[in-house]
Symmetry: C2
Subunit: 323 residues, 2 copies
């Protein structure tokens, strides 16, 4: 059996299968994997690597995957190693992952310096899986310099994802339900860059009009200085892909220069600490049969109005803390 040190060494010498295995270990909810996970993350943290973390968010059907593939190819073309953490649309519905999903980015997955990983998501946070931060760290240790996290821009996902990345790219299209009114304000307030996608064929005129409307709305909402660039893109023709990348690089370069990049990352690490604390406490409870049983019994009694929720919580907490 492979030790954690061996797995780490394989993973950092370009073995993509080892990286996939390491991610599976980190995503594991098994209590017995806890120590291995800790050891692996410690090894990664001890050898930090530079990277740019990019979230690509937008409603289903906006063409995120195709655009990510084009962006990824442009990046690998200029010798960057790209890791893409995608949403598995099947797993969003069924809870299970399918290998077939990987074929959505056929060209990119053929590249030597690209790694594509579907996330097992509960769908709750629009594809931001519980262990996304840890997965990003693994990919960075494995040498990937650009990490793209695909999310569905619904509900709280825009806030959740902004805690994970350096740049948020919002992908939208003209028409459909995705008119100005349909776009969640949270997304418009969080996005660092906007792509109006599918600007091709019969949709070109409508896309151009929509892009200009969107620019004006963003200017009103965010003001001159904080207004994100709106780029017309087509994953089909490749329109706007380089431009998008240039905007992204300029943004990251400027933020590195003015210190915003580092202060943002520092803040994100503290948030990670808080979230991991809550996650590990929950893990502790749900891996202890006595606590699981007690929580279930209390919840049943509460549902039947046989127990006071506050007192029940107090009882559970006392048992968690072994008071």
């Amino acid at each position: 059996m492979q030790s954690i040190a061996e797995l780490f060494n394989a993973m950092t010498s370009g073995d993509r299968q080892a990286l996939a295995k390491a991610i599976t270990l980190v995503e594991s909810k098994l209590a017995e994997d806890h120590i291995s996970r800790l050891r692996l993350l410690d090894l990664c943290h001890a050898t930090p690597k530079e990277s740019t973390r990019i979230a690509v968010t937008g409603a289903p059907g906006a063409g995120k995957s195709s655009l990510i593939e084009k962006l990824g190819l442009e990046m690998t073309g200029s010798s960057e190693a790209v890791a893409v953490l995608t949403i598995d649309p099947t797993s969003e519905r069924t809870g299970g992952s399918i290998l077939g999903d990987k074929t959505r980015m056929t060209d990119l997955s053929r590249q030597e310096n690209a790694f594509i990983r579907p996330s097992p998501t509960s769908g709750v946070l629009g594809g931001v899986a519980e262990m996304t931060r840890e997965t990003i760290l693994l990919c960075e240790s494995a040498g990937y310099t650009r990490i793209i996290v695909e999310t569905v821009g619904v509900g709280q996902s825009e806030t959740a994802v902004s805690h994970l990345v350096d740049v948020v790219l919002f992908v939208t299209i003209a028409g459909a339900g995705d008119s100005l009114q349909g776009i969640k304000r949270g997304i418009l307030e969080t996005a660092d860059l906007v792509a109006v996608n599918k600007c091709d064929g019969s949709g070109e005129a409508a896309s151009k009009l929509f892009a200009s409307e969107l620019s004006q709305a963003l200017l009103l909402l965010r003001g001159q200085n904080a207004c994100p660039a709106v780029v017309k893109t087509s994953a089909l023709s490749g329109l706007g892909v380089s431009e998008l990348l240039t905007h992204m690089d300029t943004l990251v370069h400027d933020r590195r220069a003015n210190g915003q990049f580092n202060s943002n990352r520092a803040e994100q690490r503290v948030k990670w600490f808080d979230d991991a604390t809550a996650f590990l406490l929950e893990q502790h409870i749900s891996s202890d049969n006595t606590l699981v049983q007690l929580r279930k019994e209390l919840a049943d009694r509460i549902q039947g109005d046989q127990a006071n929720p506050y007192a029940a919580a107090n009882e559970l907490v006392s048992r968690i803390l072994r008071d």
Copy 2:
């Protein structure tokens, strides 16, 4: 010194000062009040009372307070006892409460069977204070049959408040930034009733037009069966206040009849249990100097990238659990 049993007895025999004192005890973050709080809530839970819990949400300036006062007067007029948990607009900004705020509902506060309490809110959840559920329970034990919770309809507050109440009333006005586009979709999706307020004087025509636009938008968004009623109101003239109350009563009556009221309350109690568990765990940590110190040290090291957030969280959790 008054015992908890004495405080409870005073509170349930109509002593409003005792109720105010009990709420202060429940809101207290002092570790030494923990046992008293538990005892008081246990007494309340042992003698359950029927009530209708109503959230009134809407942007600042929509006239929520004035409308709540009119609604409250209508309720007290028909022999209901009304408790209003208001947002203290001062405390939203400064963190402190002022007595002066109470005078916003002068007429209602003069009623024998009305109780008005400003909430100490951090502003984060738009006026849904941490102990709002516990405060509602106290008011019910004290004999109040209608509990009105005022919140500011921003961010996540609409979701937070829907976990606390039986009916959500959204108050809005024509014009200003509160056009259709300006209203958060979450609010339109959660509201059980909508009041287009300030339908008086020179604003009357615009209010009527806006009410009809809003009705159409809600019909599209929610469909015929789930579409909330839109009522034109004026806190100035009293227009629509009785109508609003009738809609509210019908809604609650129907939901009691079809079982939705009870299943909703059961679900809310379980959510309360989960939230109280998280709250009490956090209370445990922040009342233990060693843990507070450790958390601060770890956060500092994480901020300076001297520690791995996941490993640090693991260290903190181990100490919390005394492993």
